[in-house]
Structures are given as structure tokens and as C-alpha cells.
Symmetry: C2
Subunit: 310 residues, 2 copies
Amino acid sequence: MQTDLVAALDIGGTKIAGALVDGHGRILVRAQRPTPAREDGDTVMRAVEEVIGELTAAPQWGAATVVGIGSAGPVDASAGTVSPVNVPGWRGFPLVDRVRAATGGLPVALIGDGVAITAAEHWQGAARGHDNALCMVVSTGVGGGLVLGGRLHAGPTGNAGHIGHISVDLDGDLCPCGARGCVERIASGPNIARRALENGWRPGPDGDTSAAAIAAAARAGDPVAVASFERAAQALAAGIAATATLVEIDIAVIGGGVAGAGDVLFAPLRAALKDYATLCFVQHLAVAPAEMGTDAGLVGAAAAALARGR
Amino acid sequence: MQTDLVAALDIGGTKIAGALVDGHGRILVRAQRPTPAREDGDTVMRAVEEVIGELTAAPQWGAATVVGIGSAGPVDASAGTVSPVNVPGWRGFPLVDRVRAATGGLPVALIGDGVAITAAEHWQGAARGHDNALCMVVSTGVGGGLVLGGRLHAGPTGNAGHIGHISVDLDGDLCPCGARGCVERIASGPNIARRALENGWRPGPDGDTSAAAIAAAARAGDPVAVASFERAAQALAAGIAATATLVEIDIAVIGGGVAGAGDVLFAPLRAALKDYATLCFVQHLAVAPAEMGTDAGLVGAAAAALARGR
């Protein structure tokens, strides 16, 4: 006997991934297309429909009962629309209606991508067993999501947990979002690299100026590279401490490319957290690297769709 | 026929208030003592027991079925203990056990005072009808609480919503809590007054250097007084925007003595909110003055106890 499956979609600025996922979070069928992010909205949607087409052609499709979408944000779960910053052709795009039509009328659950990875880490990753958790992605941007009282807290529009755009430096540098001193403006990969370059760090013969190159330099002891990661860690710590102080979480799980720097990030982050998480009810906050890999978005979208159905 | 009543306690650094509250939030019996805040823990507890004694002596006491306590924090609802910053004799003090004993074994619900005023504003005040709200007190300190998804979000230890101690200025002035640039360190009444004095404002013949005096000077157009309130408003805006961006709220309700300054605070606060609440899902955040008066703590403690019983 075949059990119910979820059709999961993970929609980002680089790729559109799809999968059929079972109730244990196992991926049975996969499909993927590059995101034609600079094209018009209908062209982007056609790529989504191609992914869905591969899933519906799979023999297991008949068992799919619900669709879960994790999308680059902002999303509007109440309206069923998405407006991903990196996909300018989609502004208030009615993704839920279009996906419902493409799947023969299945119910569709939409959440932001930060919420999706949080659902995945809570279901099967580093936040498993934690009733109150913040999960983050530190990469080109900084995103996140919350588990509160044992349940995913997506918020009315599916955007809760946007820790990258809280200000921890109210007089700080202008962020593309319009605010100043956002966590992302200080701690994202491109900002770690920018700060190192501004302070005199220079790349090796390969010319690599990515955050990964800065991390390698920091591991080798370059003081400018170390300082840039320390500043990122300080901003992340202030943001994580703020989150804990506001909603009470007991673990912060951090994934994404910048988290791949390992101790270069995590050691100063844990130290800085002691400076900002000062009240007694947040002093024992743990920090852990994410455990789910690149499938986190798909598995999390499936988890959210399953939770909706319950 | 008499309906069930709640015995409510509102415990602060200045006074210990008690009441018998009915299911409509009406206060039927009151009692109050000054808090002997500098005395040892048992002396403080005796004042609480005197308040309870007046309530148990009332003819309505027989209808009391549950006790709700809102206490200056931090509290630990899971352990049943309190450690109010301004009552040094109470550190990990087993308030729940002691109140249960003093009330003949009634069930006792404990929450922080910020959570209590939030429960009151959500039940009968400015947050009524809002499923996602932040309620704040801006006074000697800055406290708060959250309503998420239609329910009070107290957090596992009853301390959620501590917006006064999130950092909005990660390199800023040291806060007594140990962190830097906390909202309270910039926006509380004493800090508004301190900043005005440091920048050259001088009191009138009455020597009044309170935040209320600064507010009066600001209303009269004194530029230093205006600037001190604007800075407080900026910090509050950054903190409120951070909260909205993290958990999705649609209203921030602000009470307490400093909120009594009215437009001197609210006008720059609404302006600054546009600078920090930039993502689409937080742009329509409303700000409103609190509606509950000095009974908010009692009414909210009663609301929380009633909600627990449901």
C-alpha cells in the first residue's frame, strides 16, 4: 500500500527544485530547473511548470495529496503571492493559484524559504526535539525562521523569522531594504568580503574574494580576515540574542555557506553571545550548525504542508 | 449565583497590588501594600501575604478558584520562582509555592509583568481584536509582551517580550543588564532625562529633571529636549520593527509614564518606524497608546490565569 506523498517545491533565485516527499521526509522523485531570474514572470512560471511536469509524470504522482512551497521572500501566504527580491518578474505573483492549476487542484501551502529550512531542521535536523528554536541561513543573504511552543511560527504572511533585516546598529550603514545596520548588512557573505577588502585584505593569485576565501585567510591567521568574521559574529550574536530575549528560544541553528566557515565564525559567535544574551532566561542558549543539506528547502516545504494537513 | 473569580496579584518594585477579578475583568475587591523592596525576602513575602489576607477576608473569596500573578521580572514560570531586578531579597524566590500555601492550595499561574499588561491590553485594551501584537511599557524601564496567533506568548519561563533588553546599537553604551545599546538604555525615562542633561538642558526653578519635565520642555520647543525624545523614539522604532520583522505583529501598543508624553514621543516614533520597518509585511504596522490604566497588571494577571484554566 502506498502512503500519501507531498509534492514539494523549493523556489530560489538560482534554481527551482521539486520533489515527491514521503511522510518520513524521504525524497522519492526529484526535478530541477535553473531559475530564469531575469526573465518575465510567465517565463519563470514556465520553469516551475516544467518541474511540476516531471513530478506529475512520475509513477508515484497518484499518491501526492498536497503541495508545499518554500519560496524566496517576501511571500504573502494569506494572498498566495510571492515577490522574491532576486526575481524581479514576480511581484505579487499568484504562485499558489498557478501551482494549484498545474497540479490538478491539489491544496497548496506556501511559506518563505527561511521558514522552510526551519521546518526541515526541526523535523529531522539540529533543532529536532527543541520546542523553541531559531534556524538561520547565512549566505548571500541572511534568512531564518522560528519554532515556538513546538510548532513552526510562520506568521500570518509566512515571513516570520526574517532576522537578516532587524537592525542591530540603528545608526549603521544603509541596507538595500531601506533600514540601517541590519544583521544581513553586517554578517552576509558579500559583506564579510567587502569589509575585509575595505580594510586592506587582498586575495591570493586566484583572485578569489569570496567569503570562503576570507574564511580560509582567517583560518591561516590573517588579522583583517579574522576581524571581519568577528564583526559578522557580533552582529549575528546581537540578532540571535534579541530573538531569544523577545520570544524565548533555547537553540539557534545556523546553516548556509558562511556557516561553512566553521570555527572562524562559530567561536567568536559563541563568545559574543555571552555579551548580548544577558538575561537569565537566555543565558543558556545553544548555537549549533545546521544538519540538513541542500534538500532542507524541499524537506521543509513538505513538512509545512504535512503540518497544515493535520 | 456567583461566578468564578480570579485572585490577581501585581507585584512590582514599588507596590504589591491584589484584587478579586471577575470573568469580565471587573475588579470587585482590592488590596495594596508598598513593596519593602530593600528588605529580606521573607519580609517582602509578608507584604504579599497581607495583601492576600485582605482578599481572603472578603465575602467574595469563596468564589476564587485560581490565582494569577504578574511579577516584575525576570520570572521563571516553569520553576515557579521570581528574581525581580528591583527586589534584591528575591532571587529564585519560590513565589508560586508560597502563594499557593497562602491561598489554601489554589492553582497559581505566574507570568512576567510585561506579559501581564499585554494580556490586559489584548483582552480589553488597545490590542483587542489583534491576533499579533506587541504591548510595551516605557517608564523607569522598558518592558513588553507578545500576542501571537491570537494567544498570549509568554514563553516557557514567562519572560517573552523583553524588548527593553534587545540591542539596537551593538557598539552602544553598556546597559546594567550587561549588554550594549539596549532599547531601555536609550529609551527609558531616566535615560531620556540623562541625555537631555548631558546635552545642556537645565531644569526650571522647581528642579524637576524627570522625563515628564523633559517632555514639557520638548512640547515648549526646547531643541535638546526634543532631540532626547527623538533618540528614544528611534530606539523604540528599531526595537518594534525588529519584533515585527521577527514574529509578524500588526500593532504595537505603548503605555507607561514616558508614553504619557504623547506626541512628543509618538510623532517621531511613527516617523522612525518608516525607517526601520521596511519589508512589505511590516510596513503597515500601527502604533497606539495603551488604553488600560494602572489596573492593567491586575487585569492581565487575571486574564492569564483564566486562559490557563481553559
